[in-house]
């Protein structure tokens, strides 16, 4: 039982919490007693870890959504800090706003400069006002676009970290043409000659996520989700009630495993047991390893091959039948 005590438990974890509490109580009581009772505690512990791994193995899609949205889940800046000794953030779209829900900057991996672009959520209300709960505005996507071009110019591979509920649905966002900002990113990303690797680290919220997610390699953390619409939204529209969220989550096929099986993504990156928030260091190491592997492969290609690799990948998306 090495969990951090301060982790906020999710509802499916509550039996575990209760069990672990009982075990620790028992442990205290038996501290003064004979060996026989100590064995009992150890048996219980063994059983506990079995139950735990079973629970985490059989998480439903909706449970994964809950983990993906966990308030203590590591965000882009947390990962950046752990995978690179260097971090120079670059700000602004140069035309009127520095949208803080998308961040970008330079990091270094094995002596290679890499451009990182990612959505960023806040930890508390104040931070979330600044980060807009990780929901980018058109200016955010235009900042990302500026940095894509910057990376292309200086031959910097791009890694994007995606964890967003979606693009911000707001009045000003519409007035400034949110759709065009997303659309332009999709087009420009597909034409880059530097390698692009996208990692879904939490919520992959529809178009808002795809706008920085057109990549040579799309990777997903084990407990992340990627979907055209949130399960709640889907239930409200198609089932006409939010009570059917569970059904919608199952039907949409939104988990990392589902997307891998559908051939959308290239790898599922394992997280620490119970989710990345239990051990961000371990999860960051896994992410770094995955980046290294894919980057090594992609850097062997010529710029034109990198572009073709990405365009071929995109070209083959979709399932249909022909006569």
């Amino acid at each position: 039982m090495k969990e951090n005590k301060e982790i906020i438990p999710l509802d499916f974890e509550k039996p575990l919490i209760a069990l672990s509490k009982q075990i620790s109580e028992l442990e205290q009581k038996t501290r003064t007693l004979q060996n026989g009772n100590k064995k009992l505690v150890e048996d219980l512990k063994l059983q506990y870890s079995k139950v735990k791994s079973e629970i985490y193995k059989e998480l439903s899609p909706l449970d994964k959504v809950k983990i993906a949205r966990h308030p203590q889940r590591p965000y882009t800046l947390d990962y950046v800090e752990k995978i690179s000794p260097v971090w120079y953030e670059l700000h602004g779209d140069r035309t009127g706003k520095d949208d803080q829900s998308i961040i970008g900057g330079l990091i270094e991996i094995d002596g290679q400069t890499v451009m990182v672009i990612g959505t960023q959520k806040g930890r508390n209300l104040k931070e979330n006002q600044k980060r807009n709960f990780g929901m980018p505005s058109p200016e955010g996507y235009r900042k990302a676009l500026r940095l894509f071009h910057h990376a292309e110019k200086f031959n910097l591979p791009i890694i994007t970290f995606i964890d967003t509920p979606g693009a911000y649905p707001g009045l000003e966002a519409e007035a400034k043409n949110q759709s065009q900002a997303i659309a332009l990113n999709l087009r420009e990303l597909s034409g880059l000659t530097v390698p692009v690797i996208s990692i879904i680290t939490g919520e992959g919220g529809s178009g808002g996520a795809l706008a920085i997610g057109v990549a040579n390699r799309i990777l997903m953390l084990e407990n992340s989700v990627y979907s055209v619409i949130s399960p709640e939204g889907c239930a409200a529209i198609l089932w006409r009630t939010k009570d059917k969220t569970q059904e919608a989550a199952n039907a949409l096929k939104i988990t990392a495993k589902d997307l891998y099986e559908l051939g959308i993504t290239d790898e599922v990156i394992p997280e620490s047991e119970g989710g990345a928030h239990y051990n961000p260091d371990e999860t960051s190491r896994n992410i770094l390893n995955a980046i290294r592997n894919h980057l090594e492969e992609l850097l062997k290609l010529t710029p034109e091959e990198v572009k073709k690799d990405r365009q071929d990948k995109i070209r083959n998306l979709g399932v249909f039948s022909t006569n």
């Binding site: 670059l90 700000h91 290679q112 910097l156």
Partner: protein, 327 residues
């Protein structure tokens, strides 16, 4: 000046003030005292500097040691072009180029003074031949081409010479494949050269286009103050734009805007921090860390390309020596 003289001077000044308040001194007496204190003030400046941010008196030598940043209030004092180069470029590696491009008076322009006279005065005051010095040098052992503007020279304004020197510097960068750094400090275009100065905006921007097409790095560093035609041309075209804290940067001046829209503007309007919040610049950086960060950024932007080139052609470490030999 000795410290003793400083206190004596202060006593004299106080006495003069007292006389003024009481109105008892004769007119001659006061003017004598005033004249004396004016001379002493000039002397004082060499020893002490009054911080323009917090009015604190600071030892000039201490202030210079801290790169002209006030230790009390972090005010970044203006620097001369030579001080800029000194602070950024490794000692002894700077070589000035294009210093033979010199100003003339194409329009025979005269306002209160003739432009020719103004140029002479400015050269005497600032000790440089025009409002920018350009050259090449090393930043932490990485060769760059660099230009630093001199605000004391007619407000760092851009005329034909500034435009030409920047253009030549950019062309030199393009040819030698060097990163380019320009430190701006300017009130804008130079009115004394009329439309010719306006056209320098197009000329510099066009030179930077060629640099951009060659995929070379251009870092623009904005310092207090950068305005008008300079902001609206080469200063805002950096691949990376860095500003010093609280530097005022903009297109139109604050007073002009206030008069036009008849509104009071917020206090932080057009400061570096305001610009960053509004997405116009990449970073605001303390002068003490500027050299390290700029050199780091150059390394980060060139190492991937270098790696590629080395794997194809082998080493070409002696670029600096080659270029120096050709000069």
């Amino acid at each position: 000046m000795a410290l003793k003289d400083f206190f004596k001077n202060r006593q004299l000044k106080r006495a003069a003030k007292l006389h003024q308040k009481q109105g008892s001194a004769t007119a001659g007496n006061i003017s004598e005292l005033k004249a004396k204190s004016a001379i002493d003030d000039a002397l004082l400046c060499s020893l002490w500097t009054k911080c323009q941010g917090c009015n604190e008196l600071l030892y000039t030598s201490e202030l210079k040691k801290n790169l002209s940043v006030c230790k009390k209030c972090n005010f970044h004092h203006r620097l001369t072009a030579h001080e800029r180069i000194e602070q950024l470029i490794d000692y002894g590696t700077f070589v000035e180029i294009n210093d033979d491009v010199l100003p003339s008076d194409p329009l025979n322009f005269t306002d209160l003074k003739s432009y020719k006279e103004r140029l002479k005065d400015a050269q005497q005051l600032s000790g440089v031949s025009e409002a920018i010095i350009t050259g090449i040098g090393n930043i932490n052992n990485q060769l760059v081409s660099i230009g630093a503007m001199e605000f004391q020279f007619i407000g760092g304004s851009m005329g034909s010479v500034v435009g030409e020197r920047i253009t030549r510097l950019a062309e030199y960068s393009t040819e030698k494949k060097l990163p380019l750094i320009i430190i701006s400090s300017s009130g804008g275009a130079r009115m004394h050269e009329g439309i010719l100065s306006l056209m320098q905006m197009a000329k510099t921007a066009s030179a930077l286009k060629r640099l951009h097409e060659e995929k070379l790095l251009y870092i623009s560093i904005l310092t207090e103050p950068t305005f008008g035609g300079v902001t609206a041309s080469f200063a805002m075209l950096g691949d990376l734009i860095i500003a010093e804290p609280e530097a005022r940067i903009g297109f139109a001046g604050r007073r002009v805007i206030e008069e036009t829209i008849r509104q009071k503007l917020p206090k932080d309007f057009q400061t570096a921090e305001y610009l960053m919040e509004n997405g116009q610049i990449d970073m605001v950086i303390q002068r003490q860390t500027l050299k390290q960060i700029v050199s780091d950024l150059i390394r980060l932007h060139t190492q991937n390309i270098k790696k590629k080139r080395f794997s194809n052609n082998g080493s070409d470490k002696t670029i600096f020596e080659k270029i120096l030999a050709r000069l």
